[in-house]
Amino acid sequence: MPTSTTSSVDPVTAEVLRHGLSSTGLQMSIALRRAAVSPLIYDMLDFSCGLLSRKFQVLAQGRSLPVHSGTMGAVTKATVEAVGGAEVLKQGDVLFNSYGYDIGQHPQDCAVVMPVFLGGELIGYASVRAHQADLGAKAPYCSDTTDNFQEGVIFPGVFLQREGVRQDDIYRSLLANSRFPQALAGDLAAQVVSCETGARGLTRLVEKYGLDRFEWIAERIFDHGEAILREALAAIPDGRYEAQGEIEFDGVSPDPIIFDVAVEVSGSDVIVDFSDAPEPAVGPINCPLLHTRALARISILSLFVPDTEPVNEGQFRPINVRTTPGTLFHALPPAPLYNTAPINNAALDAIHRALGAAVPELVPASAGGDFCGIVWWGEDDDGPWSNVTSHATGQGGGPTADGGAPLVYITASGLLTAPAESLEQRSPFIVRRMELSTDSGGPGKFRGGLGYECEYELLDDARFTSIMDRTATGAAGYGGGGPGTPNAQTICHPDGRREPLQKCTDKPIEKGATMVVRNGGGGGYGDPTERDPGAVRTDLVERYVSEEQAREFYPQAFGDNDAS
């Protein structure tokens, strides 16, 4: 139930506006995907669209990359403040921001912010973060930067357009800093088109109700979002739940990074406590505060709120973070932050494991932990080419079911894996194999989902950057369940040499070599000896599990009383 006095708002009007706002958010993402020229945007959802109130509250979001999704308020606020605050904004302005500490991640995830006016009055903002193909970092994709100046060109909140007029000095400077200026031009235009779509929708809705009434109803909608989440959170027993996370390689320094995280639950309030985090990493996995906040938000929402509930500011209210400035989870400039993907996954995983002790009926065992992403590029007879192969990962067994089919890790869900036939059309590749790995799922009462292997044979020399993590320890099991298999990437050279990989940037790979990517399995849930013998037999028939592994972990399926 609503927590403030907004309960007097008519529940019908609030529902109509709530739906209208969420539809406007969706329309922004439709417009962006339709207009974008880069696959990372149109095919992989590497973006987020937000509609913000004057006070930078999230009114609505489009279908977005989950890990971006909790940042739009802070990103918009920082950008507006950078140019001098709301007072200096005029109709027809468009702001641009590529400063990692304002937007939360690498400069490529740059923000375009459009203030929205109605009758000369500011009524809110439409903002889009979208991953640009290149903004001038040391390589097209990096895993080894050591400060944020190596990560791309910084535009710390500037006017890209002033009262409808494009600021050519800024625009040309931007394009001049990109390896792919055409793609940048196209995708920037797409960000603006998406903002315009959001602005039109917001204007229509504010016109319908008047600004004062609109903002009053919006408060009611936030209260609603908050109430939905609080009702779910109230089911968690009060307490402090702790877990440890690990990044095995930050891309530069060889030592693994261990971090502690705790979730404090009191009533329906949750504090995700990162205050014991270690000092910032040497390599680019550091999280600015607004990014850490977004991580906490998606970690909690992904367990407690169904996808059908549109995200708004209210859902963020019960979730707070505690951090220590100058640490891994509250990094300060110039700590590098290009490649936060591995820490996104590790942090979400740790938060979920911590909560597993509190609400085991809701939290599955860990997923394989990474997308083992590789960005490739090269040049052939037709000119330069590039592509991205990212992968799904084995899902953890759950409280009531096995891990199921591999899915893209949840922080980046929306991303699609590339079909072999599409890769072979576009790039000098032959895909030799894409196959589930038998025995890769962690044993358990409910087995971890399988990981899988891909083999890419190169028909030409190429270069690549790999951002894979989790090659040493597999996805954790839960409640007696065993771990899944870890990730691995290996180059098989034409001369027979096998070269295991870690994260690497701008590395050459020669014609005739094969990259073997092993995507880890999910962790098992519960004691394997409690697994239904019938389920074990099915696993054997489907070859999800080998007889050897079955005999080791599931003796109950081979008992004397058992006919098979």
């Binding site: 529940p11 055409q182 793609a183 109430a227 079909p419 599409s422 894409m434």
Partner: protein, 718 residues
């Protein structure tokens, strides 16, 4: 009889309806029995009803009727409905029987299809399970992908490899089939699907496998991916091929049983079934390509709307097809419903022509409730056919959209078939529960339910139009289905649309769409090639000729009879580097030759500019070629003749007006008495056998020549 929300369902209601059909002359026009003119019969089967439409090709007269459907053996319901509605010997005059069916869809939804064995390229047996890693509920950690149609033990590998350019990298090892067949046999496999990598570029290995399977004695159906889809992306093509094999026996059995039953009744014409793409296939072709019929349900309504737009020269329209459980909408430009070439069913992709009809869970039976955050919500849960809305008086106690409309007076007196009336008291009781919780009046809750449903529908329409770069305000709304006309003025107001069309027979409009379809066969093949020179022209032309000759082989000489034959070709074109392509028509010269690549390029640029509002400075490439051979069937052109009825006493009912925000007297008018050219000012409620039109204050309706109602906002000052 008033039956506005699709499906009250259950035996009682159905019997009432059937009785009403007979008693009250539900059959709308008088039959013209004499003369040997031929008939065209359409039957659309839904979950509760068989909708029947009969066209007299000589007079253009249309008759409509309803009968109960029989989900277990759908053919029985079809035959029963025909027997009830047709007079003796009449069926012998029919030349075409056009059918819309959910048999294939239900086989997928209920997972009651064949035991399929899948053969793949070595290394790729798991394509169907790996999918593309997509988590449909983006942010739910517990979400799981649907189980693959073919379990892993029946997905077996054959050593071979064809490259993207069609070159054979590794020869086919036919010996691998021996072990596979042994497994298939012991597991009771009845259908085999074959999907090899890059087979669209070179199908030789798939063809050789089929031959070898026959040589080894396999006599069941074999679905080869290059024949089924011919397009690249192995997961999508494998999924399509597996779906084809999975539904094949059920469709074949059903269609042959139905055809036989029709023949026994004396029918001697062609039996046709509608496809997801909104055209018709002969039964024997559908048995060979059952995957094309999976989404035949909503397609026909879009086809009928397209035809209406053509007749009335409406350049841009959006449909609002509101039934018992869902709201379906489709964009129509220049009389052509928006077409896609990939759809998805139950989370499984399907590469086939597909009318782009989007659905949300908002219909007459959608249930209203208060959610955990204290807001009033409507749908997607539906009271369904059983028990149905509370006002059907069959034990339903949850408030639905229909109940809310009844409470507001929008359904006038609520007269149902055979003298049954809506149970207003039950509707009020259902609303009172929610009203008490919210501390509001039942009347205001009912208004809220209608407003919420209408705004959900409007948002869906905005999304559908925006995706194609169109503005909903510029479009005409075509409202039909049991509950569509009820929402007409609500949606027009919300979307600021200038005009709404309510076609004749609006409640049966989908079934009517069956009669507007052409016979068509189609196929596609991926051919990735830059659009830059004469080589491209030659390659595209060669492929088109190949595809046309494949279609010519598929069509038997007797097919479809007498209509004009159109050969049509389309190309998927994109900017090099992009993933999404646009499908644009290819102009063919004499001898079906492609005349110019520049022209193709230009139509792509035009289409791109129109859709996205700008163009890029990048070279373009062809991705796939699609061809279609269409046998144009004559379109019904029914002359609209209002029933001449004695002046009855004019009636009115107190109903809620959304534009005036108060309860007003609404005139209650029998729609069939309105002659063409006649106009009517709201507030009014128009009754007809299968739906109810709610004409709010501030709107006027004019009867077009076709009998369609054209609703528009009138100036208050006038």
């Amino acid at each position: 009889m008033n039956q506005p929300f699709g499906s009250p369902g259950g035996q009682v209601g159905v019997d009432d309806l059937a009785a009403a059909v007979k008693r009250r002359g539900y059959v709308e026009s008088k039959e013209s029995r004499n003369g040997a003119a031929s008939l065209r019969i359409g039957v659309d089967v839904g979950g509760t009803f068989c909708d029947l439409v009969i066209l007299d090709e000589a007079t253009g007269e249309i008759r409509i009727a309803k009968g109960p459907s029989t989900p277990t053996n759908p053919d029985e319901g079809v035959v029963g409905t025909l027997r009830d509605a047709l007079s003796d010997g009449e069926i012998e005059r029919a030349k075409h029987f056009l059918h819309g069916s959910t048999v294939a869809l239900n086989a997928l939804i209920e997972r009651k299809g064949a035991t399929v064995g899948l053969l793949t390229t070595a290394g790729f047996r798991d394509v169907l399970e790996l999918r593309r890693g997509e988590r449909i509920a983006l942010t739910e950690v517990r979400w799981q992908a649907p189980r693959p149609l073919v379990p892993r033990r029946l997905r077996l590998e054959v050593r071979e490899r064809v490259l993207a350019n069609g070159q054979v990298d590794r020869p086919l090892e036919l010996g691998d089939l021996d072990g596979a067949l042994e497994t298939f046999e012991s597991e009771g496999v009845t259908c085999i699907a074959v999907c090899l990598l890059n087979s669209f570029a070179n199908p030789e290995h798939e063809i050789a496998i089929e031959r070898a399977l026959r040589e080894r004695g396999f006599s069941g159906p074999v679905s080869l991916s290059h024949r089924i889809s011919g397009e690249y992306k192995e997961y999508e093509r494998t999924s399509t091929t597996a779906i084809d094999a999975y539904v094949r026996p059920r469709i074949a059995e059903y269609l042959s049983r139905l055809e036989q039953a029709l023949q026994e009744m004396g029918f001697g014409g062609d039996c046709l079934i509608t496809t997801s793409g909104g055209s018709a296939l002969l039964f024997r072709e559908a048995e060979e390509r059952p995957f094309e019929t999976v989404m035949s349900g909503p397609a026909a309504g879009a086809v009928a709307s397209g035809e209406l737009c053509k007749q009335m020269s409406v350049p841009l329209a959006v449909t609002a097809d509101v039934g018992g459980t869902s709201f379906d909408t489709c964009l129509i430009r220049n009389g052509l419903p928006e077409m896609r070439y990939q759809g998805e069913i139950e989370g499984m992709p399907l590469q086939a022509p597909w009318l782009d009809v989007r659905s949300i869970g908002a219909g007459g039976g959608s249930v209203a409730y208060i959610d955990a955050g204290g807001l009033l919500r409507v749908g997607p849960d539906s009271a369904g056919a059983d028990p149905g809305p509370a006002c059907y008086g069959r034990g339903g106690d949850r408030l639905t959209v229909t109940d809310a409309a009844a409470i507001l007076g929008m359904l006038a007196f609520g007269e149902l078939a055979g003298g049954v009336t809506l149970d207003f008291a039950s509707a009020e009781r259902a609303a009172a529960k929610i009203a008490a919780e919210l501390g509001r009046s039942p009347q205001s809750v009912a208004q809220g339910v209608l407003q919420i449903a209408a705004s959900n529908m409007s948002d869906a329409i905005r999304e559908v139009t925006l995706e194609q770069g169109e503005d909903a305000r510029e479009a005409v709304l075509v409202a039909f289905g049991g509950a569509g006309p009820l929402f007409a003025t609500l949606l027009a107001k919300e979307l600021e649309m200038k005009s709404v069309l309510i076609p004749r027979h609006a409640g049966n409009f989908s079934a009517l769409g069956l009669l507007y379809q052409d016979l068509a066969v189609s196929t596609a093949r991926t051919l990735v090639m830059p659009l830059e020179n004469q080589d491209a022209l030659r390659a595209i032309d060669d492929l088109i000729q190949t595809l046309f000759s494949e279609l010519d082989q598929r069509r038997k000489p007797s097919d479809g009879a007498d209509g004009e034959i159109c050969h049509e070709a389309f190309a998927d074109v994109r900017y090099i580097g992009q993933e999404y392509s646009l499908t644009v028509p290819l102009r063919l010269g004499a001898d079906r030759q492609v005349t110019s690549v520049e022209e193709l390029n230009q139509s792509f640029l035009d289409e791109y500019g129109r859709t996205f509002g700008r163009m890029l400075e990048q070279p373009t490439e062809c991705v796939s070629i699609r061809v279609r051979v269409r046998n144009v069937l004559p379109k019904p052109s029914e002359e609209y003749r209002p029933e001449e009825q004695p002046e009855t006493q004019s009636r009115s009912v107190q109903a809620f007006s959304f534009t005036e925000d108060s309860v007003l007297p609404f005139a209650v008018v029998d729609r069939s008495t309105l002659g063409s050219g006649k106009s009517l000012e709201g507030p009014a409620i128009l009754l007809e056998p299968t739906t109810t039109t709610y004409l709010d204050s501030g709107y006027s309706a004019e009867v077009e020549e076709s009998g369609a109602l054209n609703i528009f906002e009138h100036r208050r000052s006038e």
